[in-house]
Every structure is written in structure tokens, then in C-alpha cells.
Symmetry: C2
Subunit: 420 residues, 2 copies
């Protein structure tokens, strides 16, 4: 439904990063409010490489709330979208746009409908926390449009109700989601531990792993774990609290050795709990295992962690290097075992492509000439095609308003997504 003749459309556009947990969130104590069984800690990734952009438009001409994701209309009727919409509408304030001559009183927001268009600059189905970026952006941008004055903590609590891990995408840098104690979830919010400049030599390399298996969604997976894994509550109550304290200390002091050990151990324990679930959940596959072995053997041969790994609810490896040097060494090892299927090196590396030249890899011939990593004793079999592509990124900032109106995803005249 387009805006009627003479009727206004008011819009806001925002961009929110994705995040990757280094102390994992797995298990809710309240399904409706999305309250977790333990604290979690994440790093926010550079939105230039992995983020959601969302435009929210409001117009008296819209007869209903509608949403489009990556150009395709999706239903807004789910409880999670509705929770976020309701919580932001509740906090809406007067809005005045003098240039356009638009005035919206806070009590009018309940009668107005919104159009929401969202777009991820990375594959949605790749298991790269697209819902975290998406729901954080949904809440952030809706809040901007409706002139919501609440601080980031409050916004994070609303985003949490859309998708648990989305609350951590409200900040840049290092973020802790405090599980909270209250039954109403009011203290289950995210806080920033340090911003993205605090430890800015970290380099992130993501191996997007090819998978033929249909994966268990994290929502149903963690429900099954809470109901059936005898190890989950022990992890949540006894193991994680200590790890959270150590991880905060490691981040504060930029202690990469401690950071890496905790990150790897916690990723593995999260997948152990998945395996302890009935029926068992397998998110990692043989390729994931090979990447872990490669990193573990390198770390062991050096006597101290060179790189950390972590895996979410899928087979993709997120690898964190303490500096550019280790990142290039890692990339050489990875490309030795996982050369590009179609020999096209440029499209095999997404994000910060300059890591390729730093690693001395300008052509496919350079990849083919890579020596086998010395620390790997097994015969050097290669696994071409088992990694779809790599992303090179770094830590990034939290949600931002996109002021350039040409970047809005909704047409300011029709009120509909551009190009639809």
C-alpha cells in the first residue's frame, strides 16, 4: 500500500553490527522473555563487513505493519517482533520534523503503522548471527523513528526479547549480557565492557563452511538442551560464572593467552552440551574439526595460543588472531588445506581483502605454492571445496543512524521497499 496523495512518510535508517559470543549463551530460563541461564560475553564485528541495515517508515496512509527482509516480505506476526514493536511503541515520544511539517504526538504512535525493510550485507542462512544484527537494528531504528529516549541498557533489554543475542549487538567492542535475577527480565541487559578501540589489533577471520546438513535452529536446540542435557545446568551455574570473571579480566588486560584459552574452551563446552542433548545436536562437522585441529596443533607447537576459535550454532569457524602477523600466518595455513574450489582467490576472501596481499597471496599460484604447515605431522591431504569462502574482519562499533537518505531501503514517496 503506497502512501496516499498528499500524505507524508517519515523514515529513519540504522545499521547494526553482528556479534560473536566468546562465552556462550545456550539455554533460557524463561522462553517468553528470553532470559538466559548464564551471562555471556561477545565481541562486536565491524559493521562494514557483517551488519544489518534497516529503514523504518511511518505514515498515516499505512493500513498495517509490514516488514521486508532482503527484499522479500515476511510476517511480523511472530511474538518476538510483536514484543519489540510493543515495547518501543510504549516508549515513543513526540516527534517533530519541521522541514517536512510533520508532527506526531506520543499518544498517536499507537494508531500509526510502520513499514520496515531490512537487509543483511552477508548471507542470512550462513549461521553468522544474522538475527542478532537484524533484531538489534529493528529495535534501534524503530527507537530512533519514535524518538525513544531510553539508554542502550534499556534498548538492549528490548532487543533481547526479539532475539537473545541481539541485546549484545546494541554496543560495539566487548559486550557482556548479564543474565539478571528479576522474573520480569528488567535486569537482563547488555553492558559494554570496553569499546572497539580498547584492543584494536585483534583480527577476525571467519571460515564459512559448506554444509549439506539441515541444522537445528538455536531456539529449538537450546530448548531441547535445557530439557534433556544433564550437563547444561552444571555448566550454567558452576563453570560459566568463573569463566565470565576470567574473561572480563583477560579483556581488561588484553591478555590474549587467557582470552584464547577461555574462548576455545567455552566454544567446545557449548558444543559438548549440544551433544549431551537428546536427541544430540551436531553443529560442527568434519571440516570444523579439521580447523580446530589445525589451530590446536599450531598453538601447541608454539607453546602459547596463536589464534582462538569459536563456533556458533553451525559449522562456521570464527578465528580470532591477536595481530595482523598471526592472522596472515593463519590464513596461509587455512588456504593450504582449504584452497578455493573454483580457483578464484578474490571472491574467496570477503571483507578486508588486503589480508591476502599481506599473506603474500596475490594469485591462485601463490596458494598452490604454500608449504604444508610444519606442525601438522599427518599426510597433507587437502580439502578443496569444504570452505565456501572466508571473511576477514575486525572489532566494530555499535548501531549507528544512517543519515544519507539515499541509503534508505524504503522509498520516501511510495512507502514501499525500493526496487520492489
Amino acid at each position: 500500500m503506497a502512501a496516499e496523495e498528499g500524505q507524508w512518510v517519515l523514515m529513519a535508517t540504522g545499521r547494526s553490527p553482528t556479534n560473536i559470543a566468546v562465552i556462550k549463551y545456550w539455554g533460557k530460563r524463561d522462553e517468553a522473555l528470553i532470559l538466559p541461564v548464564n551471562d555471556s560475553i561477545s565481541v562486536t564485528l565491524d559493521p562494514d563487513h557483517l551488519s544489518a541495515t534497516t529503514t523504518v517508515a511511518v505514515s498515516p496512509s499505512f493500513p498495517s505493519d509490514r516488514m521486508w527482509l532482503n527484499g522479500k516480505e515476511i510476517s511480523l506476526s511472530g511474538g518476538r517482533f510483536q514484543s519489540c514493536l510493543r515495547e518501543i511503541r510504549k516508549r515513543a515520544q513526540n516527534v517533530e520534523d519541521e522541514k517536512k511539517g510533520i508532527r506526531i504526538k506520543k499518544e498517536d504512535w499507537g494508531k500509526l503503522h510502520v513499514h520496515i525493510a531490512s537487509y543483511n550485507n552477508f548471507p542470512t542462512a550462513a549461521g553468522l548471527a544474522s538475527s542478532a544484527a537484524g533484531l538489534a537494528c529493528f529495535v534501534f531504528t524503530l527507537g530512533k523513528l519514535m524518538n525513544v529516549k531510553e539508554d542502550c541498557g534499556e534498548l538492549s533489554s528490548i532487543a533481547r526479547q526479539g532475539s537473545g543475542s541481539a541485546c549484545r549487538s546494541i554496543y560495539g567492542g566487548f559486550v557482556k549480557w548479564c543474565m539478571g535475577k528479576n522474573n520480569d527480565g528488567s535486569d537482563s541487559i547488555a553492558v559494554q565492557l570496553a569499546d572497539e578501540t580498547h584492543w584494536n589489533d585483534l583480527v577476525i577471520i571467519i571460515a564459512v563452511v559448506s554444509s549439506k546438513q539441515k541444522e537445528t535452529s538455536s531456539t529449538s536446540g537450546m530448548r531441547d538442551s535445557v530439557e534433556t542435557s544433564p550437563l547444561l545446568q552444571y555448566r550454567a551455574q558452576t563453570v560459566v560464572p568463573e569463566r565470565v570473571l576470567k574473561m572480563e579480566e583477560a579483556i581488561k588486560s588484553r591478555n590474549f593467552e587467557s582470552f584464547a584459552r577461555l574462548t576455545c574452551a567455552d566454544s567446545n563446552q557449548f558444543h559438548a552440551v549440544c551433544l549431551d542433548t537428546s536427541p544430540p545436536i551436531f553443529y560442527m562437522n568434519d571440516t570444523s574439526h579439521r580447523i580446530i585441529s589445525l589451530v590446536e596443533k599450531w598453538n601447541q607447537s608454539e607453546g602459547t595460543p596463536q589464534v582462538a576459535y569459536t563456533f556458533d550454532a553451525g559449522p562456521n569457524a570464527v578465528l580470532i588472531a591477536p595481530n595482523r602477523k598471526n592472522a596472515t600466518l593463519l590464513l596461509q595455513k587455512l588456504l593450504y588445506y582449504f584452497p578455493p574450489q573454483d580457483n578464484d582467490l578474490r571472491s574467496y576472501m570477503v571483507g578486508d581483502k588486503s589480508i591476502l596481499s599481506d599473506a603474500g597471496l596475490k594469485s591462485i599460484e601463490d596458494v598452490e605454492a604454500l608449504p604444508a604447515p610444519a606442525e601438522m605431522k599427518t599426510p597433507s591431504q587437502k580439502f578443496k571445496g569444504d570452505v565456501s569462502y572466508f571473511i576477514c574482519s575486525r572489532l566494530g562499533a555499535g548501531p549507528k543512524v544512517v543519515t544519507d537518505e539515499s541509503l534508505a531501503l524504503i522509498d520516501s514517496v511510495t512507502g514501499l521497499p525500493k526496487g520492489v
Copy 2:
């Protein structure tokens, strides 16, 4: 060194089964005595399909103890062999062979040396508990030769010092290894819960899974788990004791539903602890995961377990069906996904080959004509070559003396392995 002219050689031959744990042993509280952190329960497999045969010979002409495994001489100097030899020698009694005119007084055993030849009727490196069968047979046969009077409990305690799980191979049927409390390990023995006739309609199908990965030995793997997994002690102290009670009850009452649920959950939890180890240990691979998914989906679609699965320290699946009917249905599903690489059906099924005709599979064409399992919704990709072969077996009896001297592995004249 052959027996000298005119000098006698006295021999005994025994055969011992392998066993597969349904409540797993993972972690020692005493490395030297091999005392476990929890009780475990196993089923003994039919020795016709999976067993070790051992001949022990003694002669005054032998200048030293020597051992051959599958025709190849191996060192006996390891602490584990030495513990078993010492403990059995300690309990040796007078032996008299009237026919051969041989008399050995118990105090003379300490001066006599033995030759030991052992042979597994299944691949040693396939991760099918060959050391359990082998060490049980070593202790059992040595005990027979030396006229040791101790009961099975005492023998199990000696076999335990050779290889933990070997203590459970001293009995047939269903066996429990009680962890014990004493520091000297005297109460860490195996007991029989029920013999192999108690629940004799169970059918065992083993999928020997192809693997290119070098596996972590269970000895070093469980040491790493004890030292680094935060979940192991919780499993040992809190989860397993309850499961052991429930499993004993399930076996007693032949309750397959309970037996299957406990078996699968405990296999998965053992592998979860492996994953929680630093560096993580992966024994299962994508093929193992696919077999689990196949069984889980079938069980779910029927609403009650049709088959149980369990995996030891390797990728091989041990599948337990409650009866012949379920075993044939299982085999049809397995062969649909994992047809033989070389189209040779007969050599693809080892052990009780009659299961093939029961499943209506007389030729490779019958395998090719199998329908996709209805409960599997995903596109029916096949995985030819991912299983090396199958073994069909059943529950079996404990160690036995082999009286037919022609089956002895050592030449009674030379005192050396036959054919060496």
C-alpha cells in the same frame, strides 16, 4: 629360542570375548592401578565374531618372557603386561601333567619364562575394544596355565590392571565394573549382572566406519579429560551413579526402551566430555553423526526406541536392536545410505551373514532397490564408501579354555608361534 632337546613345553589356550560399554568408562582416579572415576556397564559380544585367542607356553628352555600379537613379536616390557604377569605368577599353584610327566611346583613359577601368542579374529586397529579382549585373554589363559584358583572377580581385578575395560571381558552377558573405594583397587572388580541367555533376542550390528584421521588413544584421551574437562567429575559423581541403577533395572526387566535411552544418552555424554577436553577430542565423524541421525529419526517417528546406538573411542557405530525384525529393518536403512563401495555384498557383512537374507538382501541389486527410509525428510544422498563393512553379532559368553590342541597358536615342540 626353541625348546631344547628333551625339554618339555607346557601350554594352555583360551579365548576371550570383547565387550562394548553401554554406561561408559572414561577417566581414571589412579593411573597405575587403573581405577575408574565411575562404575560402567557393558555387554559381552559373541566370541565367534569378536574375540582374542591366546596360547601361553612355559618351558625351562625359555630364557625370557616373549609375546607375539597377530604373528608379530611385541614388547612385554610395558607396565600393564608386567602387572598382569606379576599378579598371576603370585597366585600360581602346583601343576602336574601326568601324561607328559611334567611337574611344576608353585615356588618354581618365578624362575620359569613364558611365551605368549595372541590373535584377534577382527581388525585390531578398528577401535573395537581389541585390548579388552586381548588383556582379558592374557590373564585368563595365564591363570589356566599356572593353575590359579582365584575366582572371576579376582581375575577381573588383575585384567583391569592390563586394560581397564578388560575386566568386563571376564564374564559373558551383562557386566558391571564396580569402581570400588579402596586405594589398593582390591574392590574395583567386575561382576556379572546377567548371563548371555537372560536377554538373548538382542541383535548387535556394528558399522565399521572408514576414517582417515589419526585417533587419540583412549589412555591419553581420558587422562586429558580428567585433567581439563570441567564436566567430567560432574558426570562421574552425579550423572553416572543414577544411570547405573536405572540400567541395572532395565537389564533385569529386559526393558528395551529404558535400555536404549540410557545407552544412547550415555554414549553422547561420553563424547560430550571428550569435546569438553582441552584440546578437544573428536572420536565421531560425519558418518557417525549420520548414523545417529538415522536412528534418532526412526526412533522419533515410531515414538519409542527401535534401536540403540553407542560409540567407543572411534567413529564405529555399535547398534543394538531388541530383536531380529528391528535388526533387519535397521540393516535396510543402513545399506540404503551406505552401500558397499565395491558392490560385493557378501564381504560387506561379517559375522552372522544370515541377517542379509532375513533382510531380503541377496544381491547388490536388492541393495540398490531399497527404498529411502520414509522418516528421513532430507534429500536422500547416499554415502558409498563411508562404511568399510558391517558385523552382525549377538551377546556372548565369557572366556573359555580351548581344549583342541590343534587350535593352539604356539608349536608344542619349538615353543614358538606356529608359522613364524
